[in-house]
């Protein structure tokens, strides 16, 4: 009972989200088929938000650095992937798209690992024990640096990543819903790939000694050092893992929408996700991404028309601000996010 009284703001908020999700279906505003389509569409973009947010959380947990460069890393990795996949057949005469994509992926992965090593060597190592804001500024510098260098090396046009996935929409579950549900096979593959990546990360963190060392460093630097865990190596590992996550996110996103500068800005969409899920929680990043993805789609499709009718507005654009308003609401009632650690300061 005491719990209920203490947690009422967050419970109200979650109930609000749930009601917002049920009403369109219950009120007959949409057919079940369309409802599921919107839901799936939201989940798809949510998966991508989750991947970017995951990169944030990994680095924040292990080094206390709020890595503003995560979005720029996504762009850089995607550019590398797109251009390498284009250059490899030209340079080596490899014919198969699968082989050249695989090669491009491996080289891009190696580049991200090298990038992680450089960041540790040139930046983090020299800023140990500095204030959080100093580290944030450093990552802001890294952001603009790799944004620029990425374009210098790879070019600044819009490139495509062609993974050879079918882009044609298909109808499924026609027997279940009237008219069936329209989905994209490519989206399905992307969601499965993202799921596998998250699963692999979970195994890595929970079941290996290195993963245990990573969790230990995330928890307490000093203690980790005293039992002989090398901080520098751990930082290289988390930045490399974040880089690989960025590569996968960039690849999926890039194959859907093309690789262009605006990819770098999806980092800004990941901010509300980590606020919602909690900066230190991996499950929080995943769930947060899905909630934001679904939430903004629902707001756009179902809430939009209601607002337009009620206030005689021009409509549209809800997708752009909804995530931030939701994040703001969470900041007010639960600043540590859904799963983040609550800070209790001893006085």
């Amino acid at each position: 009972m005491g719990n209920l009284r203490k947690n009422w703001p967050i419970i109200t908020l979650i109930c609000g989200i749930l009601i917002g999700m049920i009403v369109p279906l219950a009120s007959g505003m949409s057919t079940p088929g369309f409802y599921v389509e919107v839901l799936l569409g939201g989940l798809m973009s949510g998966v991508l938000y989750s991947l970017v947010a995951l990169g944030f959380v990994l680095i924040f947990k292990a080094s206390g650095v709020f890595n503003f460069a995560q979005g720029a890393m996504v762009l850089f990795a995607a550019l590398a992937m797109a251009r390498l996949a284009e250059w490899i057949p030209q340079l080596t005469g490899i014919d198969s798209r699968l082989v050249s994509n695989m090669l491009a992926f491996l080289i891009a992965m190696a580049l991200m690992v090298g990038f992680a090593w450089l960041v540790e060597r040139l930046v983090l190592r020299h800023l140990v024990n500095q204030e959080g804001v100093v580290l944030l500024m450093a990552t802001l510098g890294i952001t603009y640096f790799i944004d620029g260098v990425g374009q210098t090396v790879w070019g600044s046009d819009i490139y495509e990543i062609n993974l050879g996935l079918p882009k044609t929409p298909t109808l499924i579950a026609e027997g279940l819903f009237q008219g069936g549900i329209l989905i994209n096979k490519e989206d399905l593959v992307a969601a499965v790939a993202a799921g596998l990546l998250v699963l692999a990360l979970a195994v890595f963190f929970q079941k290996t000694a290195t993963g245990r060392a990573l969790r230990a460093v995330a928890d307490d630097h000093q203690a980790a050092q005293s039992i002989g865990i090398p901080l520098n190596t751990i930082w290289v590992i988390v930045w490399a893992v974040a880089g690989i996550v960025a590569l996968v996110a960039g690849m999926i996103w890039g194959s859907k929408l093309g690789v262009q500068f605006s990819l770098s800005l999806i980092a800004l969409k990941a901010l509300p996700v980590v606020i919602l899920g909690g900066l230190t929680s991996v499950p929080g990043a995943i769930l947060g991404g899905l909630i934001i993805g679904v939430g903004e789609k629902f707001a756009e499709v179902f809430l939009g028309p209601i607002l337009v009718k009620a206030f005689d507005l021009a409509g549209g654009g809800i997708e752009n601000w909804f995530a931030y308003v939701l994040a703001l609401a969470f900041l007010l009632v639960r600043p540590e996010g859904l799963f983040g650690e609550k800070h209790i300061d001893r006085v």
Partner: protein, 268 residues
């Protein structure tokens, strides 16, 4: 007691003329003492005497301006350093616990203690992930070792509990367990009994003596509670305002006038 005295061996750790200052504040001035194998060596002194600083110098957290540290390596060779660093200290077999607990609060008791085995895990990370072959055997071997420690410290019931949820006294035990998991040759305990009630203190004393008896681990411990220390240590160093004012067996220290003055104050 005679039994224990008999097995005390050669010097394993020696600090010579250590001086440490933070800016203008002198934390330690010209401190020298040695630690012999298998002994329980205490460093005592009033608050602010420089006890923790001394431990941090041995462990490599602080770098002294003057002085040398000599440590006997696993192969019996004496190695001398101007300063240690925490990683090298850990690799050479020095483990420590912390005065203000530095446990991994979000991780379970088991995982916390397992991190102590990290330096000894050698198998390939991919094999670890799929728990295959040698990696599985290795994991099981380390797990068995850790289970022994958990039994020894009587914390079986809390194996899977996140450490942050345990009461203070138990957290102190987990801290000790993690240090023991490293199979250290030298164990540094920073105020292992601070903030405990009488019963918890007695438990902790028993564990410290058992570790020393059963595993033969050399122990250096810091305490400001004189009574406890005198009962369990073989030799005691007394610090006051960063200087060494006494060194010897508990009885010698107890009758040392400078020590009495430091603890009780002296009439001027």
């Amino acid at each position: 007691m005679t039994n224990r005295e008999r097995r005390i061996g050669d010097v394993v750790l020696k600090v010579d003329n250590i001086s440490l200052a933070f800016g203008g504040v002198k934390a330690l001035t010209d401190i020298s003492f040695d630690v012999r194998e298998h002994e329980v060596r205490a460093i005592i002194g009033p608050n602010g005497a420089g006890k923790s600083s001394m431990l941090n110098v041995v462990n490599g957290v602080y770098t002294p301006q003057i002085g040398r540290i000599t440590f006997r390596g696993a192969d019996g060779e004496l190695l001398t350093f101007d300063h240690m660093n925490p990683r090298r200290a850990a690799e050479m077999g020095i483990a420590r616990t912390f005065q203000s607990l530095a446990l991994f609060k979000g991780m379970s008791v088991l995982d916390n203690i397992m991190t102590g085995r990290n330096l000894r895990m050698k198998s390939n990370i991919l094999l670890q992930a799929v728990r295959f072959g040698p990696a599985l055997a290795e994991e099981l071997e380390h797990r068995a070792f850790v289970e022994n420690i958990i039994d020894f410290l009587e914390i079986q019931a809390y194996r899977k509990t996140p450490v942050g949820r345990l009461p203070y006294g138990l957290q102190k035990r987990v801290d000790l367990g993690r240090a023991l998991a490293m199979q250290p040759r030298l164990l540094l305990l920073d105020e292992p009994m601070a903030g405990m009630n009488v019963e918890e203190k007695e438990d902790m004393c028993r564990f410290i003596l058992d570790v020393n008896d059963e595993f033969g681990t050399t122990i250096v411990l810091i305490e400001h509670d004189m009574g406890v220390v005198m009962d369990i240590s073989d030799r005691v160093v007394v610090l006051d305002y960063g200087r060494k004012i006494g060194d010897g067996t508990p009885d010698e220290v107890r009758s040392n006038e400078a020590v009495i003055a430091a603890y009780l104050g002296v009439a001027h």
